[in-house]
């Protein structure tokens, strides 16, 4: 059922996976072994004929629903400067996850992750991390602008051009009904059916989807940040678009025809209202009209 909405709560929610997801690339690196490892494999098998593969690597999911674009190469120089300022301490000057001497810890190799990954982590405010040694990388207001994120993605992409690019979701043709069915099947098991997110095992959290822009929803589905699986082959771009449409409409703006939504907390919130407003309120009225002695 529904869950806690406020972004600050969910913020922490990403918990330990912050570094962990990216840390998989740093297996070879010295330092503590990351506890949590991201799955880099494709979740499921392709069920769509619009998926295009080249040497086993997905190069396109069918571009009419989502356009994936590489960041403009002209931003490379700016990106390198920004990278050295904001990222190199941990990820190393070559973005290969070998940190600058004196820094401890296991950090992910960013080369070959694709611009969508870099863009997602920077634009959701998770990177640059508040405390690089901390396992926490909660969602928060981004430190870098959209332009700066693009620039860093452009420089890293120039080291080894890779997929996926930064998605632009063409929501107009999206079908919320298909989106809901796919959401219930693929997303609700962690993010809950109302999209409020929740705590998973061992300090891992599925963040709330209540305030996430369409681009980042698509990026997360395609790149699998943290513990989230990468949904590549088994979802076509049409299907991703439908999910993004459902998330950005019905999940983020539920119509609540029944009145106040009670924070989407489900029976927990409803129980509190029933007991505190209903039962306690009526008992107070009884106290008011009855004899008190």
């Amino acid at each position: 059922m529904g869950r806690v909405r406020a972004s600050w709560r969910v913020a922490g929610a990403v918990g330990l996976l912050a570094v962990a997801p990216l840390a998989l690339a740093a297996r070879a690196g010295a330092g503590p072994r990351p506890i949590y490892q991201t799955t880099r494999h494709d979740a499921g098998t392709p069920n769509s004929d619009v998926v295009v593969r080249h040497h086993g690597v997905v190069t396109s999911y069918g571009d009419s629903a989502i356009t994936y674009s590489a960041p403009p190469a002209t931003l490379k120089a700016l990106g390198y400067a920004l990278y050295l300022e904001n990222c190199a301490t941990c990820h190393g000057t070559q973005a290969n996850g070998v940190p600058v001497a004196g820094t401890t810890g296991a950090y992910p190799n960013l080369v070959g992750l694709g611009p969508a990954t870099i863009d997602f982590w920077i634009e959701s405010g998770r990177m640059p991390a508040t405390d690089p040694r901390s396992v926490e990388a909660p969602r928060r207001p981004p430190r870098l602008t959209h332009h700066q994120a693009l620039a860093i993605a452009a420089w890293i992409n120039s080291l080894d051009p890779s997929y996926p690019g930064i998605p632009t979701v063409h929501l107009r043709g999206g079908n919320v009904a298909t989106g809901m069915a796919l959401f219930a099947l693929n997303c609700a098991a962690c993010h809950t059916i109302e999209g409020d997110g929740d705590a998973l095992a061992r300090s891992t959290f599925a963040p709330s989807l209540r305030h996430i822009p369409a681009t980042q929803v698509a990026e997360a589905i395609r790149t699998g940040p943290g513990n989230m699986p990468r949904f590549t082959g088994n979802l076509s771009d049409y299907q991703v678009r439908d999910i993004v449409k459902y998330v950005t409409t019905e999940i983020q703006h539920p119509r609540n025809p029944g009145g106040f939504g009670l924070g989407g907390l489900g029976p927990v919130g409803e129980g509190f209202v029933a007991l505190l407003v209903g039962v306690a309120g009526l008992a107070l009225i009884a106290f008011w009209v009855g004899e008190r002695q």
Partner: protein, 514 residues
């Protein structure tokens, strides 16, 4: 208008001073002889205390449940037949679903006032069971279950059990993603009963889960069988209350031999009717303004789909909490598997809790050897051991209730789910042992305090000529002293003109012998 008697024989009193009402009543009495019984009933004395009205909340939310439930049953289709939805809620368009779910979505969106009725029904159910628990706590802590009222206590515990069962059945009927998960858990609980589990589960579900008959069966149980039994038990509960007369708190002029309170007519009737309207009004307001169980957001149940963070309604939460925190123990031997991690929290624990509730009057009598008839209630502080025992059980239940939202707590406070789980295990185990001594100490202290819970009156300190001081308590405040009318014998006939009794300005409280 003059007297219009068809036979032409004028009635001796005509319409009298009560007009048509009197005439109608007289006509009725002439044929059925109801005057005597009605008079006794209308003169029935009900002690007036706010905590005695908690049971009325239960009764009136039950009335609301019956009324709204009839409305819902006109539109709900209890069928597992799969249909394709093409209704007004776009995100479900074209989705295959059971007819039960489709009809629930339709009655929410396409039936006038359907959503209001559905939400009122759900809120009324939550309030029904909530006020039942509070009412039960009142009866327990004041010792109202003692001789001669043990039978009524037993009926009450049965009603609570049936209410919880029926609440669960009703919650399952929409066949949405969340309630389907609940049915799945119920199936597993049935399976976990040692030795007969499989047979039991197959018998209830007509085969393996989910089957095709469970919704139909739950429907008949929910709208006919259980409510009928409950209705009978509610009748018996109230009949016993009238027969045995209500208990009262000790106070000025109140003894084991009398009942002090207001007569059924007009005072109690007016008050209780008003309270019926208040309860209905609060439920209607909640139904109109607070959204509950938005099943359209959940989608239809399908075994391959699951939502994280599914909780049951609040009254099932203690079971859910116990299931969540119990370690994964199970027994495999002699060709049998007993999943203790389900059997103990979901079968043994509720069995023990409700067994304790049933047995409590007898248990207490064994300890106290108190075989006397009691009509005067205990102040909870006067019975510290009973009060502490009740608080201990409530603390255990409260902790189990909290344990059913481990994930919400972990998410809200940003803690590890595993930490919360272990914390809840510890808290559940220690809560009764912490609550008992605290409640016991508070009750003892309160009992020792003179006049606890009453308004304080000043002590007038005087100094004599010799220099000694003397403190005299001032008399109690006028409002704090119960004011009663003299006991009045119940008349056996209606005096139309009535004896010439000058009306006294009072709240109409009267004392009669039991």
């Amino acid at each position: 208008m003059s007297d219009v008697s068809p036979s032409g024989a004028a009635r001796p009193h005509g319409r009298g001073r009560y007009g048509r009402v009197s005439q109608a009543v007289t006509e009725l009495d002439e044929r059925l002889g109801v005057a005597r019984g009605a008079r006794t009933f209308l003169d029935k004395i009900f002690p007036d205390h706010w905590s005695f009205m908690l049971g009325e909340i239960v009764l009136y939310s039950f009335v609301v449940l019956l009324a709204t439930g009839v409305f819902l049953s006109l539109y709900y289709v209890p069928s597992s037949t799969v249909v394709t939805y093409h209704g007004s809620y776009l995100p479900l368009d074209g989705m295959p679903m059971s007819q039960a779910y489709a009809s629930t979505v339709d009655l929410s969106f396409a039936v006038r006032a359907g959503l209001l009725m559905r939400q009122m029904h759900h809120w009324a159910a939550d309030i029904f069971i909530g006020s039942m628990v509070v009412h039960m706590a009142r009866v327990f802590f004041t010792g109202a279950f003692r001789k001669p009222r043990e039978l009524n206590w037993t009926i009450g515990v049965t009603l609570l059990t049936l209410a919880i069962v029926n609440g669960f059945l009703g919650y399952s009927l929409p066949d949405d993603l969340v309630s389907g998960t609940g049915i799945r858990i119920a199936y597993s609980i049935l399976l976990s009963v040692p030795l007969v589990g499989t047979y039991l589960a197959f018998w209830v579900f007509g085969g393996n889960f989910p089957g095709t008959v469970v919704l139909e069966r739950f429907f008949i149980l929910h709208v006919l069988v259980v409510p009928l039994v409950m209705l009978g038990l509610v009748g018996a509960h109230l009949a016993l209350l009238v027969r045995q007369k209500h208990t009262q708190f000790p106070g000025e002029g109140r003894t084991e031999e009398n009942v002090v309170g207001t007569p059924m007519f007009p005072v109690f009737m007016a008050k209780t009717t008003g309270f019926l309207l208040v309860v209905t009004g609060v439920i209607a307001l909640l139904g109109g303004f607070a959204q509950i169980n938005p099943i359209w957001q959940f989608g239809p149940y399908e075994a391959s789909r699951i939502s994280y963070a599914v909780q049951p309604d609040w009254y099932m939460a203690f079971l859910d909490g116990a299931l969540r925190i119990f370690p994964s123990w199970s027994f495999h031997s002699f060709g049998h598997t007993i999943p203790l991690e389900v059997t103990i929290p979901a079968v043994v624990l509720p069995g023990l809790l409700f067994g304790l509730a049933y047995a409590w009057p007898a248990l207490e009598r064994r300890v106290t050897h108190d075989d006397a008839i009691h009509h005067l209630l205990d102040r909870p502080s006067a019975r510290p051991r009973r009060t502490a025992a009740g608080v201990a059980v409530l603390a255990l239940l409260a902790m189990l209730f909290v344990a059913s939202s481990t994930d919400v707590i972990a998410n809200f406070f940003h803690l590890s789910l595993n930490t919360v789980l272990w914390a809840m295990r510890v808290l559940v185990l220690i809560s009764p042992f912490v609550a008992y001594p605290i409640a016991y100490a508070i009750a003892r202290e309160m009992h020792a305090l003179h006049g606890a819970g009453k308004r304080k009156t000043p002590n007038v300190v005087t100094r004599s000529a010799e220099g000694t001081y003397e403190a005299t308590p001032a008399p109690a405040f006028v409002d704090d002293v119960a004011e009663e009318l003299a006991p009045a014998p119940v008349p056996t006939f209606i005096e139309e003109e009535g004896p010439a009794v000058a009306p006294r300005p009072s709240r109409g409280t009267r004392a009669v012998d039991r």
